[in-house]
């Protein structure tokens, strides 16, 4: 039962899971960072308060975050097909992953940026810094450890979603675990997949925390 093919399949599975998670996290951040910055800026205590913009964006973020991932996955099939050309496989899974993760990332970024001491922002303003400078040179720099910690959390969540996407044929370890372990009662394959998933999450979490610690200049 445990043949060379199975080993090969699991190795491919690891690759696919990582591919989906990494690219989905990347795109989620490309969309989520600007959204998080806009949320921070336009909030009533932000550097450019715009209550209307904030309310609309806030509502959209909450709306998408309340859609369960599996439902988003199904609903988005036409969009995925339009963007990727097909609705199955690892690349196709990235579309719903990004859609569901970007608002989550926006919230994480917003929370991190709002943690930055208002006094430091005020000091930058008093020096004649533009809003752009305040974002790029103060907020993003001062919040960097919190941002990396947030990214570690986001990656863990997206990684979990990516495994779930296996249900609809996205490939990856989650897919293998379901097809072989669950449908064919091959408990050993499921167990191996599970252990690998746990290991990967552990490695990424530990790496993220390590980077946070190295970056942080506050604690001594």
């Amino acid at each position: 039962m445990w043949s060379k093919e199975v080993t090969q399949m699991i190795i491919t599975g690891i690759g696919e899971t990582l591919y989906m998670s990494i690219f989905a996290t990347l795109f989620a951040y490309i969309i989520g960072i600007p959204m998080g910055i806009i949320l921070t800026m336009t909030d009533k205590n932000g550097i450019s308060p715009k209550p209307a913009v904030y309310s609309i964006l806030d509502f959209i973020v909450n709306l998408i975050r309340s859609i369960p991932f599996l439902i988003g996955l199904m609903v988005l099939i036409p969009v995925t097909r339009f963007l990727v050309g097909k609705s199955y496989g690892p690349t196709a899974a990235i579309v719903p992953l990004v859609f569901c993760a970007a608002p989550f990332v926006a919230r994480l970024v917003e929370t991190s940026l709002k943690e930055v001491d208002a006094g430091v922002v005020e000091a930058a303003k008093s020096m004649g810094a533009s809003n752009f400078s305040i974002i790029t040179r103060v907020l993003l720099v001062e919040a960097r450890t919190s941002l990396v910690a947030g990214a570690t959390t986001a990656f863990g969540t997206i990684f979990g979603y990516a495994s779930m996407a296996g249900v609809v044929g996205a490939g990856g370890l989650g897919d293998i675990a379901i097809r072989y372990g669950y449908y064919r009662y091959q408990a050993d394959i499921m167990l191996v997949c599970l252990i690998l998933l746990i290991l990967l999450v552990q490695i990424f979490q530990a790496t993220g925390m390590k980077i946070t610690k190295v970056l942080d200049k506050r604690a001594h």
Binding site: K125, G128, R137, K217
Partner: protein
């Protein structure tokens, strides 16, 4: 032309439960090269006032003129440029915690378009100026409060400002560190000719380095003038309250004056430099054959001149009382009746 001129400035905050008038009709004129104190109790509005001086807070009414330029008439971009000439330091230093000391000082230069290498070079020189040359690679978290404020001062000087605003800059520091920071500010004022505005609730700070002072109470300037003058002849209750509480945080005497004499009136007298040589009180007692009760005595350094301050309890006899006051006035002392309790 005045470095800073404030005309009919008012600031009202809109809150859920109505309007709060933080500042009411403020008029101020701060000359170039001055060290100007703005003193008041917490909540008096002095922090709002200093933030109006660089338009971090936009006044509801009135004008702020910096070297004759009205800030309210500037575009956002022009205002930012003007702000780079008005530096500010804060009670909690507000340094970038994730950048080292050198990059903190270089920050205002980089923000205003200076090349990183050049900015760092200038920052290095400034770090020497504030006496922290060996700390360039340290992070703020590794520094003491006084060192952090020195870095903040170096950062404030980086943009080569004309004006330095200090918002409770020594309030988080111990008395010794406060003294060293004030000394540094005085040096900056003398060597670089930078106009300094000091916001504080500590009379000791004003007394130590300010030339002129405005006293703020409930959003209004209640008294204004040369520090020496206000110290010798405070007119308002707010000024008196600040003077009497001066330094009391550090040396509170647990011993209350024993009321051996039944005094009916208390007076406050201020000695100037010349009268300090003559034993005025002793001579007065000898001449009038009546003792007085010294309730409080202190000497203070006001703008570099030693000033003595005493609070006397005078005897019941009205004639002798008047004679004593006349005697003291004749000796060139400032005499003033104290209404409220000295304690």
């Amino acid at each position: 032309m005045a470095a800073i001129e404030v005309r009919n400035l008012s600031k009202t905050f809109l809150q859920k439960d109505g309007k709060v008038e933080a500042l009411k009709n403020i008029n101020l004129c701060i000359e170039a090269g001055d060290i100007f104190g703005i003193i008041g109790m917490s909540g008096a509005g002095k922090s709002t006032l200093v933030r109006c001086l660089n338009y971090l807070e936009r006044p509801t009414e009135g004008q702020v003129l910096i070297h004759g330029v009205e800030l309210g008439g500037l575009s956002e971009k022009e205002l930012r440029k003007e702000r780079s000439k008005i530096s500010m330091i804060f009670q909690h230093f507000n340094l970038l915690m994730q950048k080292n000391v050198l990059d903190n000082i270089a920050f205002p230069l980089i923000v205003n378009g200076t090349k990183k290498k050049e900015a760092r070079e200038q920052a290095r020189k400034l770090l020497e100026t504030v006496g922290l040359g060996e700390k360039e690679n340290s992070y703020p978290a590794q520094l003491s409060g006084g060192q952090k404020q020195r870095v903040a001062i170096a950062r404030a000087l980086a943009s080569n400002p004309d004006i330095l605003l200090c918002d409770e800059a020594t309030s988080a520091l111990d008395p010794q560190t406060t003294a060293s920071i004030l000394e540094l500010l005085q040096e900056i004022n003398e060597k670089l000719g930078i106009t300094i505005v000091i916001i504080t609730h500590q009379m000791a700070v004003v007394r130590e380095i300010c030339k002129n002072v405005a006293i703020v109470e409930d959003g209004e300037i209640v008294e204004e003038g040369a520090v020496e003058e206000i110290f010798a002849h405070p007119k308002t209750d707010a000024a008196k309250a600040l003077l009497y509480n001066d330094g009391s945080e550090e040396n509170v005497s647990p011993i209350k004056p024993v009321e051996l004499l039944h005094e009916t009136e208390k007076i406050r007298i201020v000695f100037s430099e010349n009268s300090a040589f003559e034993p005025v009180i002793a001579n007065m007692i000898l001449q009038l054959h009546t003792p007085v009760n010294i309730l409080k005595a202190d000497t203070k350094n006001v703008g570099g001149i030693a000033k003595g301050e005493m609070i006397l309890g005078l005897p019941e006899n009205k004639e002798i009382r008047n004679a004593m006051k006349q005697y003291l006035r004749d000796k060139g002392l400032a005499v003033e009746e104290v209404v409220n309790n000295v304690e």
